[in-house]
Symmetry: C2
Subunit: 540 residues, 2 copies
């Protein structure tokens, strides 16, 4: 032991006079001291303080669930939870033993995964991706016959933006600069306000970006993140994993899932009373699971509230292309803040975007970005460091993120077919949303707000007391019980409202609007038939 301490001491002496490699210049905080040595230093000091009193039996405990990180144990993610496991089991049953259930197939309405239900990718996007994957065919004559002229041109443009045309190389940790230029130009065209490519961080879908911000902001369980209830469970999962506290604000179902500033004030005050430091406000617009589109006036109030209270505004804007009603429009929070006169330094704001949603629905490509504005250079540097620890996001996803923010334009060879594909998907989604919404509202004891946007309906079910008692006797949440009965009867997979949070004593489920249009009538009749029987069975 003495030798060990001497060795440690030597190391400290050797290094104390030489402040060590700091990969992040312009920095003079405690972080400028190399982790490895900082950590050793801390350990060394601990060891001096505690060597005599510390029990020496620290042998490694058996690896059981109980010995794991309790934050991991706490975390739940309903969208891929119990109900999906049951669905996968039933699907296997059907494969092995067709006819073993009263339905022919599982219809996954649990997750916004359009291509899993038959939505076709946008041809232009895939052409460009294929050409960037295998650029050696770009010069071949056969390629002209197989690919549109503008996809070939775009692939060349992109390759010229990739250093060394190396699509198989790690990129800059924020993503390839040329692609960020394209994305910034797309944001500028969307918002009418400038966007800086240096504010863009390309990520493997929006989820890692959300995790990164939670990791950055949460210091302990005394740090709170404001989230809408109902919320998308990524937020509750990420807050749990990073050891913070989810501070709820309730959306008002009666006013179409309205977001009231009075509710924000009330909940902020309540959280602060309990010693919670609320650090950021998550807004999901269009809403998930609730499908509402915020009015610009409401967005202004939210910006003003964040400004006044010093909250980081985390704007989940991944459904920005998914709007189905003519009287609502998407306005990015950055545009709203800028139009209020707040400049780049006035309000810390992160906008999340993803290639998984919109009319493209390229979930499997794991592309996305966050636009980060209003942070000091020191904080930005820490975000960059977090990005750099994972090296970079995948290049195909990066390319696709640039494509969705810069699709074909009038005059391009692909423009007409691209527009037809895009409009076909969005118009069909609008029709499906309306049909399902109407069908749900026709069910006994069910009310369903309009899906103005996003990909979901979140109907409320007034479950009979008998059904609630039955669920309780099975140790299930009542809405989880309803969802499992629905699945067992029809093969339709929805997610119980309890996975998203809801006003206590109310019950909901989230159902996507994504099954292909020709299947909607059958889904409606199966759902209607099931619901009628369920209500008959449990009617009080």
């Amino acid at each position: 032991m003495r030798k060990f301490v001497a060795h440690r001491a030597k190391s400290l002496i050797t290094n104390a006079t030489a402040p060590l490699l700091n990969p992040h210049h312009h920095q003079s905080s405690s972080s400028s001291f190399n982790y490895y040595y900082t950590s050793r230093l801390a350990r060394f000091l601990t060891s001096i303080a505690s060597d005599t009193s510390m029990a020496s039996d620290k042998s490694t405990p058996p690896l059981t669930a109980q010995s794991l990180n309790p934050k991991v144990l706490k975390c739940e993610y309903a969208v891929r939870g119990e109900i999906v496991s049951l669905a996968q089991k039933l699907q296997q049953d059907l494969q092995v033993n067709p006819g073993s259930h009263p339905f022919e197939e599982i219809i996954y309405c649990n997750i916004g995964n359009p291509q899993s239900l038959g939505q076709q990718p946008i041809t232009f996007f895939r052409e460009v991706l294929a050409l960037c994957d295998h650029p050696t065919i770009l010069d071949r004559s056969e390629t002209q016959g197989l690919f549109s002229a503008d996809s070939i041109e775009r692939a060349w443009q992109i390759l010229d933006q990739v250093p060394g045309r190396a699509t198989g190389a790690y990129s800059h940790s924020q993503g390839i600069k040329g692609l960020r230029d394209t994305i910034a130009a797309g944001i500028e065209a969307r918002d009418g306000f400038p966007a800086d490519p240096n504010d863009i961080f390309l990520t493997d879908g929006a989820s890692p970006a959300v995790h990164m911000m939670m990791q950055l902001l949460i210091r302990s369980e005394n740090d709170g993140i404001f989230c809408p209830i109902p919320q998308y469970p990524l937020y509750s999962a990420s807050i749990a994993l990073h050891g913070g506290t989810l501070v709820p604000y309730y959306l008002d179902e009666a006013t179409g899932w309205g977001l009231e500033i009075s509710e924000l004030k009330k909940q902020l005050e309540a959280a602060r009373q309990k010693g919670i430091t609320v650090r950021a406000l998550v807004v999901i617009n269009p809403g998930n699971p609730t499908g509402q589109v915020l009015a610009e006036e409401n967005q202004r109030d939210i910006v003003e509230f964040c400004k006044k209270e010093g909250l980081v505004l985390l704007a989940d804007e991944v459904y920005q292309e998914n709007i189905y009603v003519p009287d609502k429009h998407f306005h990015s929070f950055k545009k709203v803040a800028r139009s209020m006169g707040y400049g780049d330094k006035d309000i810390p704001l992160v906008s999340f975007q993803s290639v998984s949603k919109g009319y493209y629905g390229e979930c499997g490509k794991r592309g996305g970005y966050m636009e980060v504005t209003g942070f000091s250079p020191e904080v930005r540097e820490q975000i960059y460091k977090l990005a750099s620890v994972n090296l970079c996001s995948n290049i195909s996803g990066q390319i696709l993120a640039s494509l969705v923010m810069s699709p074909p334009k009038v005059g391009d060879e692909s423009y007409e077919s691209y527009s037809a594909e895009k409009d076909g998907i969005l118009q069909s989604l609008a029709r499906r949303a309306k049909t399902l919404e109407d069908a749900l509202n026709n069910l006994e004891g069910v009310t369903c707000n309009k899906a103005e946007g996003a990909m979901y309906l979140f109907p409320r079910i007034m479950l009979p007391n008998k059904a609630i008692k039955e669920a309780e006797s099975l140790k299930k949440a009542p809405d989880a019980y309803y969802a499992s009965r629905l699945l067992n009867a029809t093969g339709i997979v929805v997610v119980p409202g309890s996975g998203f949070g809801q006003v206590p004593g109310t019950w909901h489920f989230r159902c996507t609007i994504l099954p292909q249009e020709e299947k909607i009538p059958a889904i409606v009749s199966q759902l209607t038939e099931f619901h009628k029987k369920f209500m008959d069975e449990f009617r009080d």
Copy 2:
């Protein structure tokens, strides 16, 4: 406040009798209680305990680096650190103002990123990826002329493995089952022992897999992870981010970076004396940054040590294809454990593999997997939950991971060209490693072990005292000073040894063997000339 508490209480009452949605069946631990309510419960109880004493001013602090998560501030990642920022600055200088520095280009030897330095991707892999990205061309006659017959056949096979042929859909959170079957078959062929596709978790490169295991195992700073010193800084960064303690074991430079069991025992004892629970042992084989390949006998001892001490063995095996000396061979730790008679339940073992390394070097694709064996079903379920929170890894990366574990075989149309590409790359890497190793050993005061494998050399430099003093006066680690001088003089980017950890008082740098072969002679002469001048300048 009273209203708020009443509301909370109501929620608790409402929910207390209905244990809520638990997405993970077969589970009866504390994790079976829905996070959202658990968290609310905890908060509620805290609030009762502390409402009277808690100061009510918890208004949000200004967002400064000091108010961020201290774990993030602590974390360092040298591979993309200060020296790389300097290199990027110099590169911009050269673009704007050619001739502004005494070199024409920046040569990035800091990171294992082969394609950024001109290595070409394996044609067969890229053909298959392009066809899977844009499958509508598979039936077209022009495609026959552009793509090899076996790439077309393989693309069809893969599409048949993808549910609905939807490469744009989220997959199973562990990755597409059919691709995991292929990977398991590849592991079986490599090891001669069975592999189970259900043990495979496909990930966006190896880094997220490492983070996942750290997140799972680390509960607090009293949990330690055993890491080699020198280590790949992903490990120190990930341990810092998850709030654990890096417990070092020193590789023995004198015996070619030997891994001695006596050192493991000594350091384990020392850590336990200080109250650290060591949970896992990281082994990097072939070594990064050290390039050694472990002997099978040594691996057996390591397995035995982990078994005896109850440590999870985290085997970083991403360089398994990168071996350059005829007398050394790669043996996976799983194969070694199985050959010792340890079965699937005897030893918790995670093997990390990546598409970024090997002869393929597809860093930008972010593909990889971990093979997880020897964990209880309860622990496995927690790993699955962590995977599911990020939905899935990118599908192109998943496909590529299946391809590298199942490349063309004798008789396939692509086999000869594939073999020629593979052998060409590996043989050239071996020659480059030898040339650079010899050149380094020819420098005054430099000794360099053999690069038996991986992509790096890690020479030791005996820096003159005068140089060390000069570095100290500039508040730089001496090896960081050497590296920045090297960069400024030659454009060659290496990473200082202090970013990896080293025996205190010794100085090293990591240099990749990846610059294209025709550039190696110039690099050797630039390095030699710089080093001579540096030593002349500072000779004691």
